[in-house]
């Protein structure tokens, strides 16, 4: 019994020396190589990773809040949080990092705002559609899509708005919503099928 324990100790020692330590060194080296260059200032990092993504952040915030003023506030809060935490960001997947901050900020804002659920309907009614401009797509189909999206359960609507409308990847949408990419995919696919069923068949006729 004692010999087995000794054998185990030796085995663990060898594993540590020849497997775990090299793995740790490799990870540390990878971190060093992939991490943000330390010579950059916080301001430079902010310009590098955040400033160019303001359009994306605002678009996603509009999908999440449905109100332009709320979306603008949300993006401002997100920018402040991103600035504060950018020196801890490792430089990998900047969009996913930013979208995660946006999601967490939105959750915190939702907690703060919950008591004021009664909103002025005049300011709440369909504000996003006011921002649309001329498009080549058939207006009837566009109107029908607007209506059908409104009838979808939030979990499907949100994913469709982020991926199909907003152009995010599965992984970016997953970061925004805090769910696995596989769940984004399954919700997206089921959502599209529901959307197709909600639209009048005559509007989805494929011209031959």
């Amino acid at each position: 019994m004692c010999e087995v324990s000794e054998y185990k100790k030796v085995l663990i020692g060898f594993s540590y020396l020849f497997f775990i330590r090299p793995c740790q060194w490799s990870l540390r080296l990878a971190d060093t190589l992939l991490c943000v260059p330390t010579d950059k200032t916080r301001e430079e990092l902010f310009q590098l990773y955040v400033t160019g993504e303001i359009d994306l952040l605002y678009r996603v915030a509009l999908s999440l809040t449905r109100r332009p003023p709320d979306a603008e506030d949300l993006v401002q809060d997100t920018l402040i949080r991103a600035y504060k935490s950018i020196d801890r960001f490792d430089g990998r997947y900047p969009r996913a990092w930013l979208l995660t901050i946006l999601r967490n900020t939105n959750i915190n804002r939702g907690r703060r705002r919950r008591p004021e659920l009664l909103r002025d309907p005049a300011t709440h009614a369909d504000p996003v559609s006011n921002e649309k401009t001329d498009r080549s797509v058939d207006l009837m189909l566009d109107g029908a899509i607007e209506s059908a999206l409104g009838q979808l359960p939030d979990q499907f609507r949100c994913v469709i708005e982020l991926v199909d409308v907003g152009g995010l990847s599965y992984q970016e949408a997953a970061s925004t919503l805090g769910i696995p990419a596989g769940t984004v995919m399954s919700r997206l696919h089921r959502g599209r099928e529901r959307l197709r069923d909600l639209l009048p068949a005559s509007l989805l006729v494929v011209e031959s």
Binding site: R42, E43, F46, Q47, V50, T51, I54, D55, L57, Y58, R59, L62, P68, A71, E72, V75, Q76, L79, I80, Y83, K84, V128, S129, E131, K132, T133, R135, S136, V137, D138, L141, D142, I145, E146, I160, D164, V165, G166, G167, Y170, M185, L188, H189, R192, L195, R196, L199, L204, V206
Partner: protein, 94 residues
Amino acid sequence: MSILSSILRSRASEYDCAQTGRLLQRYLDDQLNETLRKKVSAHLMMCADCGLEKETFELLKAALANHRVVLHPDAVARLRAFSTDIVDHADHTD
């Protein structure tokens, strides 16, 4: 030729429609590996029903992409100015 075509079409529908249906959305999102993509593509060429289904979802995806809101330039400009302000005056973040 038409008999051969109908046989091939019926075989394609009989054996692969369910599988194609399961993979169609991933095919449309370009998420399949090369082997599966070719397999689904071949079936879509042969099967009129699945081909129509694919074209319907392509139309839906295109309509959704066109549904993207045009961001209000004033709002974007305000956010850019805010971003610049953060960098210029770090005190605002405290």
